[in-house]
C-alpha cells in the first residue's frame, strides 16, 4: 500500500516535459493523405443539389466521401441503448447547423483538400433558423426534425423527462411564500488546446487502425463499426493521449469519416480541425433554460419545488437525453425537498450539437439551484447559511429519484465554506452534522421521504 496517500509522479510527465509524448497529430505513417471537410455555411437549409465531380477531378484529390458512401448513415450516440438515431454522419438533404459536415475530401496535402472542398458544387435553399429554445414550442417555430422540435424517446415514448415525488399540491397549499426564479446558462466551448484530429490507417489484413483523440475509445469503436457495418474486430482504436478534452472529445468527431476515406483510398488519412473549425463545429456544453418555483415556509424550509428545464441540445440528440436525466436526478441540488414536480425537455435548435463538459447536466442545476437558495434566503430575510444547513441532505434523506443518501457531505461542505469566508456560524448551526434527521431537523414534511432502512441504497 505504498501508493495510497502517497505523492506519485505522473506516469506521462517525463514525456510531456521533454516533447516525447506522441499526440495524434505527431503520428507519422508513410503515404498519408490529408482531409478537409465541406461544411454547411448555413444554420438551417435544404441541400437541393450537390455535384462533387469537378472537385474530385482536381489533381491531387484522391476521394470525396459523401453520405452515399456511408453504409449506415444514421447512428445515434445512444443507439447502443436502443434509442432511435437522428443524426447522419454526413448531411444528405438537410443541414441543421452551421459547420455541419457534408463531404470530406482526401488529397495529397491540406491546401489541395481545402481547394477541392471549396470547389464542390452545392446549392442550398435556406430555411429559417431556430436558435432559442424558448421559441421551439411556438406553432410557427421553424421545424428542426420531421417529428418536432424536442426529443420524443424518454422511457421509449415520452417527450418529457418527468419526476413526480410526494404531494406537490399540498406543499404549495401549506407554503407561507412562493418564490420563483428563471436561470439560464450559456454554451461553452471546451476549447482544448489540441483541436479535433484523427488518423485512419488501412492495414494489409483488411482491418483499420484509427489514431484518435477521443476521450471514449470503446465508445468510438462502437460508433465507427456501426456506421461502417463491420464487426468490432475490424477496427482498432489507438488513443488515450488526449491534448485536453473536458467533455468536448466524448462525441465521435473525426474517426468515422476518416475510416471511410481510408477504406475508399486504401491510404492513411489524417483530418485535423483548424481552431476556427473547433469553435464553429465541435460540440459545446449546452445552454440551459431553467425555471424554479419553490414552496417555502417563513422559517426556511423548502416544502416543494416545481421546475421546468429546457436543455438546448443543438441540432441532434447525441448524449443530451442522458445529460437531462442526470440533471433531473440532481434538480434539488445538495438539499432535500420532498415534494417535486419536474418537467425537462431536450430541445432541438439550429445550434451545434451540445455534449458533456465537467459534470454533464449537473453544473447547470448547481448554478441555478444555489443561486435560487440565496434568492429564497434573501426574500425570507434569512441567513443563506442557515437555509442551506437546514435543508442540507442528511443520512437517510432521499434524492429526487428516491436514492437513499448514505453519507452526504453537504453539511460539512457548507460549514467549510463559512469557515473559508471567515463567517462565525451561531452554535446551533455550527453544531449540525450529517446524521439522520431527528428533533428540530425532522419537521413533519420531511418524515415521509426518510428512508431509515439499512444496507439498501
Amino acid at each position: 500500500m505504498k501508493a495510497v496517500g502517497a505523492r506519485l509522479p505522473r506516469y506521462d510527465g517525463m514525456g510531456h516535459v521533454t516533447g516525447h509524448t506522441r499526440f495524434v497529430d505527431d503520428v507519422r505513417v508513410p503515404g498519408m493523405l490529408w482531409a478537409k471537410a465541406l461544411r454547411s455555411p448555413h444554420h438551417h437549409a435544404a441541400i437541393v443539389h450537390m455535384d462533387t465531380s469537378k472537385a474530385a477531378a482536381m489533381p491531387g484529390v484522391h476521394t470525396i466521401v459523401t453520405w452515399e458512401d456511408v453504409p449506415l448513415l444514421e447512428y445515434g450516440h445512444l443507439s447502443g441503448l436502443g434509442i432511435p438515431a437522428d443524426e447522419p454522419l454526413l448531411a444528405r438533404d438537410v443541414v441543421r447547423y452551421k459547420g455541419q459536415p457534408i463531404a470530406l475530401v482526401a488529397a495529397d496535402d491540406e491546401e489541395t483538400a481545402s481547394a477541392a472542398a471549396a470547389a464542390i458544387e452545392i446549392e442550398y435553399e435556406e430555411r429559417p433558423a431556430l436558435l432559442d429554445v424558448r421559441l421551439a414550442f411556438d406553432e410557427d417555430a421553424p421545424k428542426i426534425h420531421h417529428w418536432g422540435n424536442w426529443y420524443p424517446h424518454f422511457e421509449e415514448e415520452m417527450d418529457v423527462r418527468q419526476i413526480r415525488k410526494g404531494n406537490i399540491d399540498q406543499a404549495f397549499e401549506d407554503a407561507d411564500k412562493i418564490i420563483s426564479g428563471v436561470y439560464r446558462s450559456s454554451a461553452i466551448e471546451q476549447a482544448p488546446v489540441e483541436t479535433q484530429v484523427g488518423l485512419a490507417v488501412p492495414e494489409p489484413d483488411g482491418r483499420l487502425t484509427i489514431y484518435s483523440c477521443t476521450q471514449a475509445l470503446y465508445f468510438s469503436l462502437g460508433v465507427v463499426a456501426a456506421h461502417l457495418e463491420v464487426p468490432l474486430n475490424k477496427v482498432k482504436i489507438v488513443g488515450g493521449t488526449v491534448g485536453g478534452g473536458f467533455g468536448g472529445k466524448v462525441d465521435t468527431a473525426t474517426d468515422t469519416v476518416i475510416a471511410l476515406a481510408a477504406q475508399k483510398t486504401g491510404r492513411p488519412v489524417k483530418w485535423r480541425w483548424t481552431r476556427e473549425e473547433e469553435f464553429l463545429a465541435s460540440s459545446t456544453r449546452g445552454p440551459w433554460h431553467m425555471e424554479i418555483i419553490d414552496a417555502v415556509t417563513n422559517d426556511g424550509w423548502i416544502l416543494g419545488r416545481k421546475m421546468l428545464t429546457l436543455h438546448d441540445s443543438g441540432a441532434y440528440a447525441r448524449f443530451s437525453p442522458y445529460g437531462l436525466t442526470k440533471h433531473s436526478f440532481h434538480h434539488t441540488g445538495a438539499y432535500t425537498i420532498p415534494n417535486l414536480h419536474f418537467d425537462g425537455y431536450v430541445v432541438f435548435t439550429n445550434r451545434v450539437p451540445s455534449t458533456a463538459m465537467r459534470g454533464f447536466g449537473v453544473t447547470s442545476i448547481s448554478f441555478a439551484g444555489e443561486t435560487h437558495m440565496t434568492r429564497v434566503a434573501n426574500e425570507l430575510g434569512m441567513d443563506p447559511y442557515e437555509i442551506r444547513l437546514k435543508n442540507a441532505n442528511r443520512v437517510g434523506d432521499t434524492s429526487p429519484n428516491r436514492i437513499r443518501y448514505t453519507d452526504p457531505s453537504t453539511v460539512d461542505v457548507v460549514k467549510a465554506i463559512a469557515n473559508a469566508e471567515g463567517r462565525d456560524l451561531e452554535p446551533a448551526l455550527a453544531g449540525m452534522t450529517r446524521a439522520t434527521r431527528s428533533g428540530e431537523m425532522l419537521p413533519p414534511h420531511l418524515v415521509d421521504q426518510l428512508d431509515t432502512s439499512e444496507g439498501s441504497h
Partner: protein, 170 residues
C-alpha cells in the same frame, strides 16, 4: 535554406513562406511544437530562435534562414531533463501535456534571461500561453521553483502530508 535544429544542421526544402512550425513538424519531423491554433494565439508552438522564444506558426521559414532553433527536445532528454523540466514534473505543471512544450521553452527563456521567482513577472512571461487544464497555478509554482533550484525529486513516492492516512501501516 538551412536551420540548426537542436544542435543539428538541417537542409530545408519547404517553400520560403512556409511557417517555421510546419517546417519543423511536417518536413523535419520535430513534433514537440504543437499547432494549437496556427494563428499566434495559444503559444503551444513556441520555440527558441537564436535563444529568444518565438511563435513558430507566425514565422515564415525564410525569415529565419540560418538561425539556430531550439525546441523542448533540445532542452533536455528523459535521461537528462533540465531543471525546468524536472520542476514541471515535480509540481505537476503538465497535465494533458499539449501546451507544455511551449510553456517549458518560455519558462527556460525567462530563467535564462535572469527572471526572478516573482509570480507576477512569471505570469507576464507566459501570458501568451494558453493552458486549459491547470489554471496556471502549478505552472507558476514550477517556474518559480526553477529560478532557485536546479535539481528536483521526480521519482520518489513520498506520503503526502495533506492526506489522511487510510488503514494501518503495511
Amino acid at each position: 535554406m538551412k536551420l540548426e535544429v537542436n544542435g543539428v544542421n538541417r537542409e530545408v526544402r519547404s517553400e520560403p513562406l512556409t511557417p517555421l512550425l510546419d517546417v519543423l513538424r511536417e518536413e523535419l519531423d520535430v513534433t514537440s511544437p504543437k499547432a494549437g491554433c496556427h494563428a499566434g494565439g495559444c503559444g503551444a508552438c513556441t520555440v527558441m530562435v537564436d535563444g529568444k522564444p518565438r511563435r513558430s506558426c507566425l514565422i515564415p521559414v525564410a525569415a529565419v534562414d540560418g538561425a539556430s532553433i531550439t525546441t523542448v527536445e533540445g532542452l533536455g532528454t528523459p535521461k537528462d531533463p533540465s531543471a525546468v523540466q524536472q520542476s514541471f514534473i515535480h509540481h505537476y505543471a503538465a497535465q494533458c501535456g499539449f501546451c507544455t512544450p511551449g510553456m517549458v521553452v518560455a519558462a527556460t527563456a525567462y530563467i535564462d534571461g535572469g527572471g526572478s521567482d516573482d509570480k507576477d513577472e512569471i505570469a507576464k512571461a507566459i501570458s501568451g500561453h494558453v493552458c486549459r487544464c491547470t489554471g496556471y497555478t502549478k505552472i507558476l509554482d514550477a517556474i518559480a521553483a526553477a529560478t532557485k533550484q536546479t535539481e528536483f525529486d521526480i521519482t520518489i513516492i513520498a506520503p503526502d502530508p495533506t492526506t489522511v492516512t487510510i488503514g494501518g501501516s503495511e
